[in-house]
């Protein structure tokens, strides 16, 4: 026999607050599941007590903050009841005790209404603080539960990471689904806490009565939003049709758009921080798109005969009307000035942000509805999952960890449609349908888990999104400008247009091999395809390190074979012809340096006079000229490419670091070249005088007539024109560098020394010159042999020819 309750309502509520605080202080991760299970009982008791507490006469139920909390509490409860995490199990004693206290308080208040004999009842004046106490209790208890859930989710995450590091069997690790489920529940409690806190801090419930009487657009919108949230929960909790889900999603998208517009206006008018706007804007946009996507997908499944819940239509109409009055004009959205005149911007933005919190819970409810409602058909469930998780692929939802958890723990409730997909949502009048087992889904998911191919929770990378993220946020910081340019071209010109839409964890080696074949057949060089291959291999390697993919498919894919290009250096005659022709134009020393010293194009163009010591005959190579990149200076309306925009602006540095550490070096300059550089310096001084105020002083060795550094692309075209004018065979500019290297190797300069002069970082480069230098070296050996053993090894004609070649080349250097 239980003891009779001797506490007053005030004492019961004070005890409840104290218990809630204890819950918060003592919250441990182990208690989290039990706390979630207890939540429905606590909220139920609070709602019942709230209903009997004195309130303003005539207030409609949906203007009551407790209605919003009740709706969320019931949604959490439904989620637990149908078998979602944490499922059935023990409850948490503090929360149950609070629930008991609130129930006792409710009985006392009710009894005081019927008879006033009891010594334990409170006077109406004593009950005045009761609503605040109830709300505060819920707020603190929700906060405590959130704390426990946060610790629980973090602990699971840590366990999973430790197990992965220790390579424990998959079956022994916490699964991603458990972590995601705890995190999802945590988010819902955060929302609940937020709303309870707002209601508690606001004091009395909103005094708006009904929409028709709302005096201002602000009040009307606030009231409409509160009514909408409550009605959306009610409809979704009852017997929703796909038409209801479409309508919920469309209204939520509109509310999110309005939040976005009003937040922007509030920021412009200085009511909120601009930083806050910048933080919120991407989330709001993503949220709008997700709701609209969901609406479209459900719309595809909605039968023409289906009906939308009339109460939902009413609430939606009021939200729409309130938004139209508050935030639009004839041309579309109202301007910030108009909004500031019409609305109490700071308050309405707060209300809308609270509405976004509730919106998150509606999203969870929609997901649960789509997954579990017995009236919805199997394709409807799948579409719901697809819409919820934002992907085009119906398998996405099956692979979602949370969904998998659901499959693991819930009996199948979706039923096979009797007719075509378009009619499957006639749920309210349809005949009973056969159950459809989902074991195949479960098996597929288990297989993915065993393969380690389950996507990491919370990440949905596509190749496009990952490559962009990797390029700009991960790779760029550690890359030289030229390497970044090469990666960027591979990513944006080849990879994204061809394989960008694949999901990161779904890319197969065959996709890449197909891309390489396509590139080659379209005329690309194998080296270009190889560059693309190296880029995706590096990007996927990073994704692998971060756990976003289970393997690097680019390491498996076979890139096209790249033939090592054999070096074809110029002969002495060709070099002479080039230099003679070059003397007739500007910057003749530029070509002499290329042919005699073998500097890379960027190294020559990046030379500054500060790096040239004509007295000592030395050049210091320490930077390289980058290819200039421009952006529009006219916001892109000139109709030209950025490089041709009249107001173009340079967006990269003029020089970058050398190709490698070995590239930074000091090179000796032959006396003839020193003389040539000195003459070039004098010529440049004359140009400086002639250019007068148009001269740009940059200390560049090789410049345009106005002192600007030479552009690599123009330099390349001047090289081609020079070859044509000199009537020598066409070759790449880089072949001038090969010529210098060949000459050094033929001279018998040790490979290590050639590496130093040429700026190579490995001796493997020297092997590319073997086909030229080895026959000549053998020829030298033969000649030496001929000198020693002249009677035994007579000279032959072919050797004679090769010797001549060697001698000529030697003279050329």
């Amino acid at each position: 026999m239980s003891m009779p309750e001797r506490r007053t309502v005030g004492e019961l509520l004070a005890d409840s607050e104290a218990l809630a605080r204890e819950t918060l202080l003592d919250a441990t991760l182990e208690q989290a599941p039990a706390m979630v299970r207890s939540w429905n009982q606590l909220v139920g008791s609070a709602v019942e007590l709230w209903a009997v507490l004195p309130s303003e006469p005539g207030s409609p139920s949906w203007s009551d903050p407790m209605e919003r909390l009740r709706a969320i509490g019931e949604a959490i409860s439904r989620s637990v009841t149908v078998g979602h995490w944490p499922g059935q199990g023990p409850t948490e004693e503090h929360l149950i005790q609070i629930a008991d206290n609130l129930s006792h308080a409710q009985h006392l208040v009710e009894r005081s209404g019927r008879a006033s004999q009891s010594t334990t009842t409170d006077s109406p004046a004593d009950l005045q603080p009761a609503p605040g106490q109830v709300m505060h209790t819920l707020y603190v208890a929700a906060h405590g539960t959130g704390v426990a859930l946060r610790a629980y989710a973090a602990d699971l995450q840590e366990q999973a990471e430790t197990a992965q590091r220790r390579r424990q069997p998959v079956a022994e690790r916490p699964t991603a689904l458990e972590i995601t489920a705890a995190q999802g529940m945590m988010a819902r409690f955060d929302g609940f806490e937020h709303l309870a806190a707002a209601a508690y801090l606001a004091g009395e419930p909103p005094s708006s009565t009904n929409p028709e009487q709302a005096a201002t657009p602000t009040q009307r919108l606030e009231t409409a939003l509160a009514a909408w949230e409550v009605q959306a929960h009610r409809t979704l909790a009852a017997s929703p049709d796909s038409a209801d889900l479409v309508r919920v999603a469309r209204v939520q998208a509109l509310i999110t758009s309005t939040t976005s517009i009003l937040t922007e206006a509030a920021a412009q008018k200085g009511h909120i921080d601009v930083d806050m706007l910048q933080r919120l804007a991407p989330s709001l946009e993503a949220s709008q798109m997700a709701w609209n996507r969901m609406a479209k997908r459900w719309g595809e499944l909605t039968s023409p005969a289906s009906r939308t819940d009339p109460a939902l239509v009413g609430a939606a109409s009021e939200v729409r009307a309130a938004i139209a009055v508050a935030a639009t004009n004839r041309a579309g959205w109202a301007t910030p000035d108009q909004l500031a005149n019409r609305l109490d911007l700071p308050n309405i933005v707060k209300t809308l942000h609270l509405s976004m919190v509730a919106s998150a819970d509606i999203a969870y409810v929609v997901r649960d509805t789509a997954a579990d409602h017995p009236g919805l058909t199997a394709p409807a469930c799948i579409i719901g999952m697809r819409a919820q998780w934002g992907g085009r692929d119906r398998n996405r939802a099956r692979r979602d960890p949370l969904r998998r958890h659901h499959l693991d723990h819930t009996p199948p409730t979706c039923v096979q449609p009797a007719g075509p997909v378009a009619r499957t949502s006639q749920t309210r009048t349809d005949q009973p349908r056969r159950r459809r087992p989902r074991h195949h889904q479960l098996r597929a998911l288990e297989r993915l888990r065993n393969e380690g191919a389950v996507q990491r929770a919370g990440q949905r990378w596509t190749i496009e999104s990952w490559l962009e993220h990797w390029l700009e946020n991960i790779a760029r910081a550690g890359l030289r400008a030229t390497s970044y340019d090469a990666y960027r071209t591979a990513v944006r010109k080849h990879l994204i247009p061809n394989v960008g839409k694949h999901r990161l964890d779904r890319l197969q080696p065959e996709h890449l091999e197909l891309l390489y074949r396509k590139m080659i057949s379209a005329g690309a060089r194998p080296a270009t395809a190889h560059q693309v291959h190296r880029t995706i291999r590096t990007a996927l390697g990073e994704a692998l390190r971060r756990g976003y993919v289970s393997r690097n498919v680019a390491s498996i894919a076979k890139p096209p074979r790249v033939e090592v290009e054999l070096v074809e250096p110029y002969t002495l005659e060709e070099i002479r012809a080039i230099l003679t022709t070059a003397q007739q134009g500007r910057n003749a020393a530029r070509w002499a340096i290329a042919l005699a010293l073998g500097l890379r194009q960027g190294e020559v163009l990046g030379l500054k006079w500060a790096d040239v010591d004509l007295d000592q005959g030395l050049l210091r190579i320490r930077s390289t000229r980058t290819r200039p990149r421009y952006d529009h200076g006219c916001s892109g309306d000139c109709g030209r490419a950025p490089g041709w925009c009249p107001k173009r602006r340079l967006v990269n540095a003029e020089t970058g670091s050398t190709k490698s550490d070995a590239g930074r070096r000091i090179v000796g300059v032959p006396p003839v070249l020193v003389q040539l550089l000195a003459e070039h310096k004098s010529a440049q001084s004359r140009e400086r005088v002639a250019a007068r105020q148009f001269w740009h002083e940059g200390d560049w060795v090789f410049t345009s007539p106005t002192g600007r550094p030479l552009v690599p692309n123009s330099d390349y075209h001047r090289w081609k024109a020079l070859l044509k004018a000199a009537r020598v065979r066409d070759a790449r500019l880089h072949d001038a560098r090969h010529t210098a290297a060949t000459v050094l190797l033929i001279l018998g300069v040790p490979e290590r020394t050639v590496m130093g002069i040429m700026g190579w970082s490995s001796t493997s480069m020297a092997s590319r010159y073997q086909h030229v230098t080895d026959p000549i070296r053998r020829d030298v050996a033969a000649r030496v042999g001929g000198l020693i053993w002249v009677t035994e090894q007579p000279e032959s004609e072919p050797t004679e020819t090769k010797t001549e070649t060697r001698v000529h080349r030697g003279e050329g250097t």
């Binding site: 469309r250 976005s260 009048t429």
Partner: protein, 118 residues
């Protein structure tokens, strides 16, 4: 006029209104989707959807909503046609529901004509 007492002609007219409104909503949503997140057209599109829902809820289950697809690619034109059809059945006997729906569709015609498209 409750749907139980609605005559077949009225019901079929109302079904035509539903089809016209749904087609108009489809066109406006398509335009809104093209404009991307935050398009102001969604206010009009949602309004038309809700009017279509209202019209659908006035119809008895026995009346098939499916029928020939309305001709026209102009949302304002489709809305005007819907409003004209509603005018035919908005008699004193029709009741507040049809009357209210007609008024709302009339407002939507005005919005479609004066909104971002106008």
């Amino acid at each position: 006029m409750s749907w139980q007492r609605m005559d077949v002609d009225t019901a079929e007219t109302l079904a035509g209104v539903v089809r016209l409104l749904r087609r108009a909503a489809e066109l406006v949503w398509a335009a809104a989707d093209t404009e991307g997140a935050g398009s102001p057209r969604q206010v009009l599109a949602l309004g038309i959807d809700l009017a279509a829902d209202e019209a659908r809820n006035l119809l008895p289950d026995a009346i098939a909503v499916e029928g020939p697809a309305p001709v026209g690619e102009e949302p304002a034109g489709l809305l005007r046609s819907a409003e004209q059809l509603l005018r035919r059945i908005d008699t004193p006997a029709a009741g507040a529901a049809v009357h209210g729906l007609r008024a709302r569709v009339g407002e939507l015609v005005w919005e479609a004509n004066s909104g971002v498209d106008a």
